[in-house]
C-alpha cells in the first residue's frame, strides 16, 4: 500500500492503518530503534510507542514523507529511553555516535532555549544542503539512524577506515560550519 493509502486509513480512524504502517515501515523503525537500544524488548516497546504516537497525531498531521515522520518519532523515543537507561554508564554503541558528535561542537556556541535549539537544527539543515548527496546520506545514516561504521563501509564500498576518515572530515566541516553560524546564535 502506498503512503497516501495508509494516511487515508489513519484519517478514517481504521486500525488497519497501524497494521499497514507496520508492514511497510516496521523494519525501518525497528532498525532505527535497534541501532540505539540493545534490548530487544525495549526496541519492541519503542516500536509500539511509535505507532501510538502516529495514531495520536495523524490526523491532524499528514506527513510527507511518511517514512521520515515515523523514523524521527522512533529515533527520538529511542534516544529518550537510551538516556534514561544509561545515565550512569557509558558502554552502548550509541555512545560512540555521541562521542563523535562531541567533536562537532564548536567553542563559544551555547544552546539554552528551545528557540536556539530550533536554530541549531536549521543550521544543520543548511549544512546538509551544502554536502553532495553521498556525503549527506553518509552523515544522516550515521548520526540520525546511528548505523554502525562497518555497515556504512560496506554500503559505500570503502574500507571501514576510509569511512571513518570520511565521517571525520564531515564532522570537521560541521564544526566549522556551526562555528560560523554560532556567531549569530
Amino acid at each position: 500500500m502506498d503512503d497516501e493509502g495508509i494516511l487515508d486509513l489513519f484519517y478514517e480512524r481504521s486500525e488497519q492503518a497501524v497494521t499497514e504502517l507496520d508492514r511497510k515501515y516496521g523494519a525501518a523503525v525497528r532498525r532505527t530503534a535497534g541501532n540505539i537500544l540493545r534490548d530487544r524488548l525495549d526496541v519492541e516497546e519503542c516500536l509500539n510507542d511509535t505507532w501510538l504516537a502516529a495514531w495520536n497525531t495523524i490526523p491532524p498531521q499528514r506527513p510527507d514523507p511518511l517514512v521520515s515522520y515515523v523514523c524521527r518519532i522512533a529515533r527520538n523515543l529511542a534516544v529518550k529511553r537510551y538516556r534514561a537507561d544509561t545515565a550512569a554508564k557509558r558502554n552502548g554503541s550509541y555512545d560512540l555516535v555521541l562521542d563523535e558528535l562531541e567533536e562537532c561542537i564548536p567553542s563559544g556556541v551555547d544552546v539554552e532555549s528551545e528557540l536556539e535549539r530550533r536554530e541549531l537544527t536549521a543550521a544543520i539543515n543548511r549544512f546538509l544542503e551544502t554536502l553532495d548527496r553521498e556525503d549527506r546520506v553518509l552523515f544522516v545514516r550515521r548520526y540520525f539512524f546511528a548505523d554502525p561504521v562497518a555497515q556504512l563501509a560496506a554500503a559505500t564500498r570503502f574500507s571501514a577506515n576510509r569511512t571513518s576518515v570520511r565521517l571525520f572530515r564531515l564532522r570537521e566541516k560541521l564544526r566549522n560550519y556551526l562555528q560560523k553560524e554560532g556567531l549569530s546564535v
Binding site: V67, R72, N91, V111, Q151, A154
Partner: protein, 355 residues
C-alpha cells in the same frame, strides 16, 4: 552546547534528508557480489599453500600456527605487496610457541599519516566477530599507560564490495575468522603523529598496544603486543607550482607537489583564499567551487606507469591547510608501485614526466 543538544538537533532534521538516506538503506540492497565468489577461491588457495608448508612442522602446531601464516600470506597478496614492490610493508616473525590465546602481530605498514597494523587475536567467538556487522561488538586499540586509543576492525579484502548486514556477517566470518582456533584478524589504524607523541611521553621506542573487544557484556582485553612505528616509503614530486585552469569553474589552482607512498598520497595545492576557506570561520558554501576543484585535482589526475596503466588517487579524506598549502590526503587499499610512475597528468596538463 553539549553532544545531547547536537543529537537532539539532528533528530529534527528535514524529513527530505531522512527519506533520502532511508532510500539508501544498505539492508535494501542485494546480496553478496561476484567479488566474494572470487575471493573465496583466493583464500582457499592461500590456505592450501599454508597447509602444505605446515605439514613439515607437525600437526600439533598446525591449528594455531597455520592461521597466522595463512593470514600473513593472504594480506601480502591482497595488499599487492610483492606485485608492486611495497618495501614499507613489514612482516613479523611468528612466535615459535603457538599459544591459543592472546594477540599475535602479523604485519604493519606506515603510509606517512597512518600506520596500519594487522593482528591475530583469540579467543573471539563467532557471535562476537559477527556482531561487528551491526555494532553489537566493537574492536579498539589502546596504549597501556597513555591516554591514546582508536578503532580497530576485522581485516577484509581491500577490494571487497558488500551490501547488507547479512553479507557483511558472512564476509567477516569468511575472511577475518578461523572458527577452529577462534582467531580473528584485525586491522588497527594508528595516527603516526599521535603515536610518536605516545612514544615520547613513555620514553620508549616501542609501546604496549592493547587490543580490546567491547560488547554489551563489557570490555575485555584480547591481548597486548609491543609495537614500534615502521618506516615509510615515499616519493616526492615537485610540480614547480604548475597552474591548472579549470573551464567548468573558470578558476586557476596551483598544484604544488605530490607526496606518494604505496598506499596513500598527499596532493599539495594552493589558490587564492585557501587559508580563509580552511579556517574555522571559512564560508564553505561560498567556497564550494574551490572545494570541488580541490577534489577534481585528486580524482582526475592520473599516475601513468611504464606499462601504460593509470591510477587515480581518488577523493581526499582530509584536507588540512598547513604551511601555505592545502594538503589533500588520499588513501587506498592495495599498494601501487611508486617507483614505476612515469608521468603525472591532469587532463591536458602534464604535471611531471620521467626524464
Amino acid at each position: 552546547m553539549n553532544r545531547d543538544d547536537l543529537s537532539d538537533a539532528i533528530g529534527g532534521i528535514d524529513g527530505r534528508f531522512i527519506a533520502e538516506a532511508y532510500s539508501h538503506d544498505p539492508e535494501a540492497a542485494s546480496g553478496p557480489s561476484e567479488r566474494i565468489v572470487r575471493m573465496k577461491t583466493k583464500r582457499m588457495v592461500s590456505l592450501a599453500l599454508a597447509a602444505a608448508l605446515i605439514l613439515s612442522l607437525g600437526l600439533a602446531a598446525y591449528a594455531v600456527g597455520s592461521i597466522h601464516l595463512a593470514r600473513q600470506q593472504e594480506l601480502r597478496q591482497d595488499l599487492k605487496v610483492d606485485e608492486n614492490n611495497a618495501g614499507s610493508y613489514v612482516e613479523y616473525t611468528l612466535p615459535e610457541t603457538q599459544e591459543p590465546q592472546g594477540a599475535v602481530l602479523l604485519s604493519a605498514v606506515n603510509d606517512g599519516t597512518e600506520e596500519r597494523v594487522y593482528v591475530n587475536v583469540s579467543p573471539v567467538t563467532e557471535e562476537e566477530l559477527a556482531g561487528f556487522a551491526d555494532g553489537a561488538s566493537r574492536f579498539s586499540w589502546s596504549i597501556e599507560g597513555y591516554e591514546l586509543g582508536g578503532f580497530a576492525g576485522p581485516s577484509l579484502p581491500v577490494d571487497l564490495n558488500l551490501s547488507g548486514k547479512e553479507a557483511i556477517r558472512e564476509a567477516l566470518l569468511q575472511y577475518a575468522y578461523d572458527a577452529e582456533t577462534q582467531t580473528a584478524t584485525l586491522e588497527c589504524w594508528l595516527t603516526v603523529d599521535s603515536f610518536k607523541k605516545a612514544m615520547e611521553a613513555l620514553g620508549t621506542d616501542t609501546v604496549p598496544l592493547q587490543l580490546n573487544l567491547s560488547t554489551d557484556a563489557g570490555t575485555r582485553c584480547l591481548g597486548t603486543i609491543d609495537f614500534a612505528l615502521t618506516d615509510e616509503q615515499s616519493r616526492s614530486f615537485d610540480f614547480g607550482r604548475a597552474v591548472y585552469h579549470d573551464e567548468e569553474f573558470d578558476k586557476e589552482i596551483e598544484i604544488v607537489g605530490l607526496e606518494l607512498t604505496p598506499f596513500s598520497a598527499v596532493w599539495k595545492v594552493h589558490y587564492e583564499g585557501d587559508a580563509l576557506l580552511h579556517s574555522p570561520g571559512g564560508d564553505q558554501q561560498a567556497g564550494r567551487d574551490w572545494l570541488l576543484l580541490e577534489d577534481k585535482v585528486c580524482q582526475d589526475a592520473q599516475l601513468v606507469f611504464s606499462d601504460g596503466s593509470t591510477f587515480s588517487t581518488g577523493g581526499a579524506l582530509t584536507t588540512p591547510y598547513e604551511n601555505g598549502v592545502v594538503r589533500q590526503y588520499c588513501g587506498w587499499g592495495g599498494a601501487i608501485d611508486i617507483g614505476d610512475v612515469q608521468r603525472i597528468v591532469l587532463h591536458d596538463l602534464v604535471l611531471w614526466e620521467a626524464p
